[in-house]
């Protein structure tokens, strides 16, 4: 029972990682987050390999984990080159800007301009029109609502 239960825990975690990675890859629009989702699916496979490795008591699973990690490294190098190229050429990480890659028969899902509104800017203090300029504290000047 022990061995099977341990294997099942590993299989379940691997399955969850794979499924969540699939959701991320299907639904996100950021190229980098999509790539990280693919890496998440690879993590699920790694956990699977580790579980079966312990179950059978061999080290073949670890060898395969090393292979998967090496191929993920190669994939990351290619993906980084592609994404840098795309960012330089298209000004952005949005996959929507790459929709010309699709077949011409398929209609575009959304136009580039059809994006939701921007984040509203932070409310800055209103400066008086006359007199000395007020001293703005440093934390207000350095305030960044994002990242």
């Amino acid at each position: 029972m022990e061995k099977t239960a341990l294997l099942m825990h590993y299989l379940l975690v691997g399955t969850c990682l794979f499924g969540l990675g699939t959701v991320g890859f299907l639904s996100r629009r950021n190229l980098i987050v999509m790539f990280l989702s693919v890496e998440l699916m690879l993590q699920g496979v790694l956990v699977n390999f580790a579980g079966w490795d312990r179950y059978h008591g061999q080290s073949a699973g670890q060898v395969f984990i090393l292979f998967v990690v090496a191929v993920a490294g190669a994939e990351a190098a290619i993906a980084l080159a592609l994404i840098i190229n795309l960012v330089r050429g298209r000004q952005g990480l949005d996959v929507l800007r790459l929709q010309h890659v699709r077949e011409d028969i398929i209609s575009p899902p959304l136009s580039i301009e059809d994006e939701i509104g921007e984040v509203e800017p932070p409310s800055w203090p209103k400066l008086p029109r006359v007199g000395r300029p007020p001293s703005i504290p440093q934390e207000v000047l350095e305030y960044r609502p994002d990242v």
Partner: protein
């Protein structure tokens, strides 16, 4: 081993199927609610639904022996899966990268628990040390303002949430029914004990890697070399700018209109 699978009680299978279906619905609803849609709203109900669905599947599998082992595995699994869920639902790519690093750490913990100490360290070094840092650099390079519009909206959140939940529960069902709880206790074998972790497993791994899988290691080195060359070639040829893309789109739209009217 096939005789072990025959004497499963039908009742248990039915209950676990029902639990799986309910967990699928809960997970799909939770993922759908937690994914960004472009509108600001509270994400916590989605998180709660997703956690409830995952906990229901978790309750289906038999517990590991000792309390310490059980709590360790549960802790690492919670860290891993929660980080993965946070990664795919956050609207900020920088935080997504950091959550991915957390998920990798949880995975490395699970590998370490299984006695794969070298592989665990290799995963940490390669994923967090190399890949993640590279992509953090790229994020900083491209999108210093963060919170872009396309990050706060997702493609078809409902469909992808359903696909993910069904994928999780279907692939769980494949092995859950194989070694069902009642089926395994009926004919538990003597060999069904966890083999102790051998500390010198790295030595065995090295021996196996360079004797039995020697050719595969060579091929892997070749793949890495080719990826390096390919990345250099891709980087050295920039794409055409965005204005050409607009022209291309307009021409294709015009052609499509002509086709539809004629």
């Amino acid at each position: 081993m096939s005789h072990c699978f025959g004497n499963m009680a039908g009742k248990v299978m039915e209950t676990s199927n029902l639990v799986l279906i309910l967990a699928t619905i809960l997970m799909a609803a939770g993922l759908w609610w937690a994914l960004p849609w472009g509108k600001q709203r509270k994400r916590s109900p989605g998180w709660a639904l997703l956690a409830a669905g995952l906990a229901m599947i978790w309750a289906l599998i038999p517990p590991v022996g000792s309390f310490l082992a059980r709590s360790l595995i549960t802790l690492m699994a919670i860290i891993t899966v929660a980080s993965a869920a946070a990664m795919i639902t956050t609207t900020r790519p920088l935080y997504a990268a950091l959550w991915f690093g957390m998920a990798v750490l949880g995975t490395a913990g699970m590998l370490l628990y299984n006695g794969a100490e070298f592989v665990a360290m290799a995963v940490i070094v390669i994923y967090i040390g190399a890949i993640l840092v590279m992509f953090l650099f790229l994020l900083m390079l491209d999108n210093p303002k963060g919170m872009a519009a396309f990050d706060r909206e997702s493609w078809e959140p409902l469909t992808s949430a359903i696909v993910g939940a069904v994928l999780i529960s279907l692939s769980t069902a494949t092995w859950l029914h194989r070694t069902s709880i009642s089926g395994r206790t009926a004919c538990a074998e003597e060999g069904d004990k966890v083999s102790p972790v051998v500390v010198t497993q790295t030595v065995d791994l090295g021996h196996e890697l360079f004797s039995r899988y020697g050719v595969a290691v060579q091929v892997l080195g070749l793949i890495l070399l080719l990826a390096l060359i390919g990345a250099a070639i891709i980087i050295s040829r920039p794409l055409e700018p965005l204005s050409d893309l607009k022209d291309h789109r307009e021409t294709t739209h015009a052609a499509g209109d002509v086709d539809s009217t004629s």
